[in-house]
């Protein structure tokens, strides 16, 4: 009797504990259960990419509380190659031009510019910008900053941004002390001459590498690498403090040349675990949350949060690369069969649902040159089988290959149904998961037969999705990991780069895009979507299409 009683108690206690555990989950799951009905509706409601700012006059003051998903590697424009560092560089420094919400080039440190001919740009600079140390910004700083990127002593990985400037090659090879094509006409005028017309150059000047540094600050450090966390720019925010794994603090630059930001500063916490970030937001400790895919449904269907969610398609275009000089994808029929075998609509709309929209080509919507209705490889399993048979494969002899990807649950969730579809069509695909760094090295070295990766915009020009990804000179680390090589494509994209006539250039981009699609060089899968959630007091927040375009000048806090 005593024993039985014990068992009952034990069971009761266990039940209690379990109830506690599951009430925790239950609560957070509730909204998403109703999601089925309302998700499309609220998704439509939530398609805004700006929080309201009309409720009264913007107020000055307050610290904006945000977070970074990982440590910063550097705050030196010459070395800021990743998205996170690029964003921060653009808050601390300025470049000659910047981008508006939609990615259009607008003035920044250059108040205007003229193009006397196709390969010359004359920039008229603002005369009231100052570095955070008080030094005035002048044309000399532009010359110094741009030459610094090219200087082999510095070793910036971004030399290609200025490579097309006249005299850049000579300077890099040590044949001259300065770059011929960067001329300081007077304190507030810079003339840049290019080797030959290169249309995307102006938008490339908005990249993190083209942000302006102060020579006096850099030269304080015998080893330039020590400058990394002592940044001094002209930007809307000044560096205050950075500590690895903990926080990054910046404060408003009162003397910012175009007027100080509304907020007094930003306090970035470093939060690696995305669930922790969600918890911090829900506890009211963050003003901004980059919603993890798993939480989108739950948060957007919660009436307390729904009005403060912003969403927008990003410029991140995800694809499967098919390596050109490797079996079996050295055969165009196999590549085409691969493309026809996958029902992208079905997969993206189910697996990626909130987090992505189907992509049909390299040029993403939002960039000039994008064509709606392009769908070169609609799902067609019969055609896929036919092409495989033509290429000499059969049921007894399926086309087997390995599809490599970096190891993550979300990648597996997407690639497993793709694998199933491929196998139905007569392939024998094997998924190989690798740790990110090893994976990148292997893909760059051309060891993968097929691989899953993405490409984002460095600057808002369709050329950025064509030249680095497909030009034969970009094989390997340049961006063309598939070793795609088509002289016809090379010729057209090179011609487009030199073409200053806008309409003609766009036409050439599209022609180049068609060639890559016809060759089935990569299968474009989807463009990711971004979901941001703000606290109600945050006004004027916007999603900028280009990663480093937001200088936090519009945001203000109503508290």
């Amino acid at each position: 009797m005593v024993k039985r009683k014990n068992k009952i108690y034990t069971a009761l206690i266990l039940l209690l504990v379990l109830a506690l555990v599951f009430s925790g989950c239950g609560k957070s799951n509730e909204p998403s259960k109703e999601a089925g009905k309302t998700s499309t509706e609220s998704a439509e409601k939530a398609t805004t990419n700006e929080t309201e700012s009309s409720s009264g006059e913007p107020k000055y003051g307050g610290i904006f509380r945000s977070y970074l998903g990982n440590d910063l590697k550097t705050l030196d424009p010459a070395f800021a190659t990743a998205e996170r560092e690029g964003k921060m560089v653009s808050l601390l420094y300025d470049s000659l031009v910047k981008f508006d919400v939609n990615g259009k080039v607008i003035p920044s440190l250059a108040k205007s510019w003229e193009t006397p001919d196709d390969s010359t740009l004359i920039f008229h600079l603002v005369d009231n910008a100052k570095f955070h140390n008080g030094n005035p910004f002048t044309a000399q700083d532009v010359k110094y900053s741009f030459e610094r990127i090219l200087d082999p002593e510095v070793g910036s990985p971004r030399t290609w941004v200025f490579e097309k400037v006249k005299g850049a090659k000579d300077f890099m090879e040590g044949k001259s002390d300065s770059v011929e094509g960067i001329e300081v006409s007077d304190d507030y005028t810079v003339k840049i001459t290019l080797e030959q017309p290169f249309a995307p150059f102006l938008s490339m000047l908005g990249m993190p590498a083209a942000h302006i540094v102060d020579k006096n600050e850099i030269e304080k450090y015998p080893d330039q690498k020590d400058y990394a966390f002592n940044p001094v720019g002209t930007g809307p925010f000044k560096f205050v403090e950075y500590s690895n794994g903990d926080k990054f603090v910046i404060e408003a630059n009162e003397d910012y040349f175009s007027g100080r930001p509304y907020i007094d500063g930003v306090n970035y916490r470093i939060i690696q675990d995305e669930s922790t970030a969600v918890a911090e937001f829900e506890a009211g400790n963050l003003d901004e949350l980059d919603i993890p895919t798993a939480d989108i449904d739950r948060l957007k269907n919660n009436p307390a949060y729904a009005p403060y969610i912003l969403t927008s398609n990003t410029f991140w275009n995800f694809y499967i690369g098919l390596t050109f000089n490797k079996e079996p994808f050295n055969d165009i029929r196999v590549r085409k069969a691969f493309c026809y075998a996958i029902d992208r609509e079905a997969i993206i709309n189910t697996v990626k649902r909130n987090a992505g929209v189907v992509s049909n080509g390299p040029i993403p919507p939002g960039l000039d040159g994008y064509r709606e209705g392009l769908n070169p490889y609609p799902y067609n399993i019969d055609k896929a089988k036919e092409l495989l048979a033509e290429a000499g494969y059969s049921e007894e002899n399926p086309c087997s290959f390995e599809l490599w990807h970096s190891d993550s649950k979300t990648n597996v969730a997407l690639l497993e149904p793709i694998q199933a579809m491929l196998n139905q069509a007569g392939f024998k695909a094997k998924l190989v998961a690798m740790e990110w760094n090893s994976y990148k090295a292997a893909v760059r070295a051309g060891e993968a037969q097929a691989f899953y990766l993405s490409w984002g915009a460095d600057y808002p020009d369709a050329e950025n999705y064509l030249y680095p990804l497909f030009h034969s000179s970009m094989s390997g680390g340049g961006g063309n990991e598939t070793r795609y090589n088509n002289p016809e494509f090379d010729k057209i994209i090179e011609q487009a780069q030199r073409t200053s006539d806008y309409d003609e250039r766009i036409k050439l981009y599209q022609k180049a895009e068609d060639i890559t699609i016809e060759d089935a060089a990569r299968l474009w899968l989807y463009l990711s979507k971004e979901w941001l959630l703000y606290r109600p007091e945050v006004k004027g927040a916007k999603i900028y299409r280009i990663f480093n375009a937001d200088k936090l000048l519009d945001i203000w806090l109503d508290r």
């Binding site: 014990n6 440590d71 070793g155 760094n437």
Partner: protein
């Protein structure tokens, strides 16, 4: 005793050489390098090669290893490939955080674990015992990932009595939740061990003798039973301190504590060789030291063990 200590300390040298060699070989063999992280996308092969050369990654294995080790012997742990921060400085900044977390967790583990274990042993086969066994079983099988988030939501988001994550001003309240997770996780093992050790001792003849002499039960348990049961428990506890110290990676990441654990993970992923080497060597020293402490404590607690 002193002779024994000196011998053990000399033994450290081959151990450290072994650890450094294995760690260095592993990171050398694994594909990918720090250059991948430093130069990022769209960098020409020339730039990559230049960066590789600058870091000396193109040199043969033995040269890289020897030049690293000769620097270490000079007391120079080098600088991070990625953020250029001195490794020694990073260890000095981050280790105290991990140490604090470990200390608090250890305290929770010891107090809760031993108390619960003793109670459950003394009250064997009662309701209390069943509850303890049930919850410890649940505790053993709950992953830290899950319990961390659960505890964050309960205390940080709903009750709002504790900070959710981060180090804040470094005060104790930022360590409470992670210490609770880590400490309870380890307390569960301590409790189970304590219970079984106590049960074994309680069954011994001398306990029966003590009881039959009419000594109060409290004294029997604490003076006679516990002291004997403590021998295996205490050595286990010291080892668990070592494990806590080097095994708080997940907790540190979820709770956003900038300790050495999360930093080591970063270093491995980014192939930051000086950082990986520095942290591993440092942690090896600590672990070996704890091993030594365990052996010494054995002798101090149990006079039957002698060193020779």
């Amino acid at each position: 005793m002193i002779k024994y200590l000196i011998r053990r300390i000399i033994m450290l040298i081959p151990v450290m050489i072994g650890v450094s060699l294995v760690t260095f070989s592993l990171i050398y063999i694994v594909p990918g390098d720090a250059v991948e992280v430093i130069v990022g996308e769209r960098a020409s092969e020339e730039i990559r090669e230049k960066a590789i050369e600058e870091l000396g990654l193109n040199k043969p294995f033995h040269q890289q290893y020897l030049s690293y080790m000769s620097n270490v012997l000079k007391g120079n742990l080098g600088k991070s490939y990625i953020n250029n921060k001195s490794i020694k400085e990073s260890i000095m900044e981050r280790f105290p955080i991990t140490f604090k977390l470990t200390l608090y967790s250890f305290a929770i583990s010891v107090i809760v674990g031993i108390f619960v274990g003793v109670v459950s042993a003394v009250k064997q086969n009662t309701v209390i015992d069943s509850i303890v066994r049930g919850t410890t079983l649940l505790g053993v099988s709950t992953p830290v990932m899950f319990s961390s988030l659960l505890i964050i939501y309960i205390f940080g988001v709903w009750l709002k009595v504790m900070p959710v994550s981060g180090i804040g001003d470094g005060s104790i309240k930022y360590f409470l939740l992670p210490s609770l997770v880590l400490g309870l996780n380890s307390a569960v093992f301590t409790a189970r061990l304590t219970r079984s050790c106590m049960l074994e001792v309680i069954r011994q003849d001398y306990i029966r003798t003590a009881r039959s002499k009419g000594i109060a039960e409290k004294i029997v348990i604490f003076k006679h039973a516990m002291r004997n049961a403590m021998i295996p428990i205490s050595t286990n506890l010291i080892m668990s301190f070592g494990y806590l110290l080097t095994g708080s990676v997940i907790t540190e990441t979820i709770f956003g504590l900038p300790g050495l654990g999360s930093e080591t993970v970063r270093a491995v992923f980014q192939r930051d060789i000086p950082a990986v080497m520095g942290y591993f060597l440092f942690q090896a020293v600590i672990f070996v030291t704890f091993n030594l402490l365990v052996d010494i404590s054995y002798a101090l607690i149990n006079p039957r063990i002698r060193f020779n």
